[in-house]
């Protein structure tokens, strides 16, 4: 990819996200079982949750690369940046989900299994961030964090994908339901899929910036 294509990427992302936002409000139809316009929050809430999941798996990936790929500091930074962003996207997914719950279930919080699951995931990764801030030695911090993030490979899919399918919940069925069928109107799915891609691209951009910022901060601290 040449330099001018790289420079154009952020603008392409702006356009993609603007299109998804437009699609969420004007292109996608309303979902039948939802109250009023509340189904439109789907195009924000679901991609945010999806991106959080991607972020946590990215953290696990870079943690594995750190442990078995030479213990390079930049891999540790990449893992930490991914967890930070995953936490941010997870919090935003929880907030948007609560707004939707207020409309549909008449309460921001119901201790629904889906709601509880995401809180448990956020607590898990909140502990990762606490762990990092508690260990002063850089290499020990990186090692402990990497092992912890790899445990997330088990924890995260369990709470994201297994719990919703084995518990009774008020939450709408997953996009691909228990019969392994896509149960969504075509235009809704188009906007949702577009949102998945744009939010993932946004995460990758923010991850790149965050990792580089951490490197600069480490260097400034060392000087």
């Amino acid at each position: 990819m040449n330099a001018s294509m790289k420079r154009a990427l952020p603008y392409a992302l702006w356009l993609g996200m603007a299109l998804c936002i437009w699609g969420a409000f004007f292109y996608a139809p309303l979902a039948a079982a939802f109250i009023g316009q509340s189904s439109r929050i789907l195009f924000f809430h679901v991609p945010l949750a999806w991106t959080a999941f991607i972020a946590f798996f990215t953290a696990a990936f870079w943690s594995a690369v750190y442990l078995w790929g030479g213990r390079k500091a930049r891999h540790d930074r990449a893992a930490a940046a991914a967890v930070e962003l995953g936490f941010l996207f997870g919090v935003l997914a929880t907030i948007t989900g609560s707004l939707w719950a207020r409309i549909m279930w008449n309460a921001f919080w119901n201790w629904d299994p889906r709601q509880t699951s995401i809180v448990l995931v956020l607590l898990f990764y909140g502990a990762y961030l606490a762990l990092r801030s508690a260990v002063a030695d850089r290499e020990a911090r990186a090692r402990f964090s990497a092992v912890y993030a790899l445990i997330g490979v088990v924890v995260t899919p369990f709470f994201f994908f297994i719990v919703p399918r084995i518990t009774e919940s008020l939450h709408p069925e997953p996009v691909i339901n228990a019969d392994r069928h896509l149960d969504m109107e075509a235009r809704m799915f188009q906007v949702l899929l577009g949102s998945f891609f744009t939010y993932t691209a946004l995460f990758l951009w923010m991850h790149n910036l965050r990792s580089r910022l951490m490197a600069l901060a480490e260097r400034a601290h060392a000087d």
Partner: protein
């Protein structure tokens, strides 16, 4: 909710997204500037 209301929410979303976008763009430029003055990270790490 009437179309007018949706239009307002759409506009607010677009403004928020554009604001975030501009912030990230400027942050990226600032980071690149700092990296060029302090050297690329890989040069200083094992």
């Amino acid at each position: 909710m009437e179309l007018g209301g949706l239009g307002w929410i759409f506009a607010v979303n677009l403004i928020v997204w554009t604001g975030l976008f501009v912030y990230l763009l400027r942050l990226g430029r600032r980071i690149a500037q700092l990296e060029s003055t302090s050297g690329k990270p890989e040069e200083n790490e094992r």
